[in-house]
């Protein structure tokens, strides 16, 4: 019995050491705690990052700290599309070479980055900031929907592309927005949903495959 207690004490002590209860320096402890508030970073990784900073020049570390501070303090949301920006307008909205006749509607800033990464789209964006989800208390008024309607009235684009996830909440949002625009002279499209490129049919789930069959597209022998 006694032996078992001692073993337990030893394990608790070690765990305390590794998980930040007993660092020799309070400064180190604070740094570790700060790092471990970040997503995907546990105590061990936080400790490794903190100790890594000690090996770097003070100047380099200052630069890192400043970058973080400036980013948080100075970042803006574009007044037009709500993408991340340095000033009142983001780089995409300010770019005169982009096609102003199409607006791609997305849920989040990360979706803008994903679409930009494809280099297949040269139009503008509109970031909603989420989808309609009453269970989480999110209605249309929490999203940038009014401003989208305003943009369509004033800028009169030809096409709105709904690049919203095909979930139940995503579909509700697409329908809601389309309904608002029923009387506006703009074409509304959604991104294609179907079998993943390079995927095999037999592994596609039934709903996706069924939908792909229902909304099949004409096959062109000379695609442009």
């Amino acid at each position: 019995m006694m032996e078992e207690f001692r073993k337990k004490d030893l394990i608790c002590g070690l765990a305390g050491y590794f998980y930040g209860m007993n660092h020799s320096s309070r400064l180190l402890q604070e740094a570790v705690e700060a790092f471990s508030t970040l997503p995907g970073i546990g105590r061990k990784t936080a400790l490794r990052l903190a100790l890594h900073l000690l090996k770097q020049d003070a100047e380099q570390v200052d630069h890192l700290g400043d970058a973080i501070k400036r980013f948080r303090r100075d970042i803006r949301f574009c007044q037009t599309c709500f993408n991340l920006a340095d000033g009142p307008q983001c780089a995409i909205c300010a770019d005169t070479h982009r096609n102003r006749k199409t607006i791609c509607v997305v849920e989040s800033v990360r979706d803008v980055m994903a679409i930009e990464e494809t280099q297949q789209y040269r139009g503008l964006y509109h970031v909603l900031g989420g989808v309609i989800n009453p269970l989480d208390g999110i209605g249309p008024e929490q999203l940038h929907i009014d401003s989208l309607v305003g943009r369509i009235r004033s800028d009169q684009p030809e096409e709105i592309i709904m690049a919203i996830s095909p979930t139940i909440e995503g579909e509700t949002t697409i329908y809601y927005i389309s309904r608002l625009m029923r009387d506006l002279p703009v074409r509304i499209s959604t991104i294609a949903r179907g079998v993943a490129f390079g995927g095999e049919l037999e592994y596609a789930d039934e709903i996706t495959l069924g939908r792909s069959i229902m909304s099949r597209i004409p096959y062109a022998t000379n695609p442009d």
Binding site: G139, T172, R179, L180, I207
Partner: protein, 373 residues
């Protein structure tokens, strides 16, 4: 018609079982033992492997063996003449993976229907004497197993209804009303609701035919069972129904009418079975209903499900036990698992009927095969 046969079942940390593997044979598998020894848990393990959930209203965390953090179930199966292995790995609250031959399904819905099972237990009398929810659950369970599209529509319906109710509730709490939000939810609810309603209607019609024949065969009584499906969409479509109840919904802060209120009324000689049945009639009707579920599942899937009979011979005399078993044998059953507290009556009856069977004795979650001469 192809059959499904479980050759072995492994249970790790599942209910009363720590780590056990058992082998089974063709035909009837009779599991005998006193109450509380773990007979039902074997059937529930098979049910879990087929439908990704317990037959009983238990959460995954309640299926864990006391003091463990995960449970694992695995069945080696012969289906359509080929061997398969289905595995369930569950860490309640964080992970729930199902595998077919060691390949994890991306969603549980893909697995449902792969290994069809029908379980009959004493508390199935709830289907007749309980609230309408029990009857809706009965319809949904049957249809989800045979129709993947039904399963998908049912889960969309439930999710959308939650969203609809959350929105209506937020209006009561003072949020500004925007009719387009309800319209956006309803236009998605509509196709799911229509699909579910029409599938239930067709199912009930076919089911009642089977129930009538089964009831006559089991009870040999003169009374006629019948029934009717009373659905929210019997007389109007979804958008009309929502229009009609619009102001009530707004006032109450939830969706007052819908498939979630549908009823399957079962009758004996035109009287609601729910109120007028004797204990004997109730038992016969439940058995007729559950066997009809089994027959329906077989015929739609073209595959005979596992039939799991939990303690259904309780308080029946030897004559009734033989009569029920004779009826079962006539129904083109595949592998059948039967639990009973009496060690002899089911084996004796099967012996007389010259049916292939194996007997297992369960004592404190240890199963041993009883060798029969």
């Amino acid at each position: 018609m192809t059959t499904l046969e479980v050759h072995s079942l492994s249970m790790t940390n599942f209910k009363s079982y720590e780590a056990e593997t058992y082998s089974f044979g063709s035909g009837f598998q009779v599991i005998v033992g006193r109450n509380g020894m773990g007979k039902t848990n074997v059937l529930d393990a098979l049910h879990y492997l087929g439908l990704c959930r317990s037959y009983f209203p238990l959460r995954d965390s309640e299926l864990l063996r006391h003091g463990s953090e995960f449970f694992r179930l695995e069945a080696s199966i012969r289906q359509d003449g080929r061997p398969f292995t289905y595995t369930a790995k569950v860490v309640p609250g964080s992970r729930k993976d199902f595998e077919k031959d060691k390949n994890t399904y991306s969603t549980l819905a893909e697995h449902i229907g792969q290994m069809p099972v029908v379980l009959i237990a004493p508390n199935d009398t709830e289907i007749i004497s309980g609230f309408s929810e029990a009857r809706r659950k009965f319809m949904d369970q049957t249809l989800c197993q045979v129709d993947q599209t039904y399963l998908a529509h049912l889960s969309s319906y439930n999710r959308l209804l939650l969203q609809r109710n959350a929105y209506l509730k937020s209006l009561l709490q003072g949020k500004r009303y925007d009719p387009a939000v309800l319209e956006a939810i309803d236009q998605q609810l509509s196709p799911s609701a229509e699909y579910i309603a029409s599938a239930r209607r067709t199912f009930v019609k076919e089911l009642l035919e089977l129930v009538r024949v089964n009831y006559q065969a089991i009870s040999q009584a003169a009374e006629q069972p019948s029934g009717i499906y009373q659905g929210a969409l019997d007389e109007s479509n979804w958008s009309e129904l929502m229009q009609q109840n619009h102001s009530t919904d707004l006032r109450m802060g939830r969706t007052m009418k819908g498939l979630h209120r549908d009823e399957l009324v079962l009758t004996l000689d035109q009287h609601p079975a729910r109120r007028f049945s004797s204990q004997g009639q109730l038992k016969s009707l439940v058995f007729a209903l559950k066997i009809a579920q089994f027959q329906y599942t077989s015929s739609v899937m073209g595959r005979i499900p596992l039939l799991l009979l939990d303690d259904i011979f309780d308080k029946l005399d030897q004559y009734r036990v033989s009569a029920l078993l004779t009826f079962l044998v006539d129904q083109q059953v595949g592998q059948v698992f039967i639990t009973d507290t009496d060690e002899d009556r089911v084996p004796e009856a099967l012996l007389k009927m010259k049916q292939a069977f194996r007997t297992f004795h369960v004592h404190e979650s240890q199963i041993t095969e009883v060798t029969t001469g």
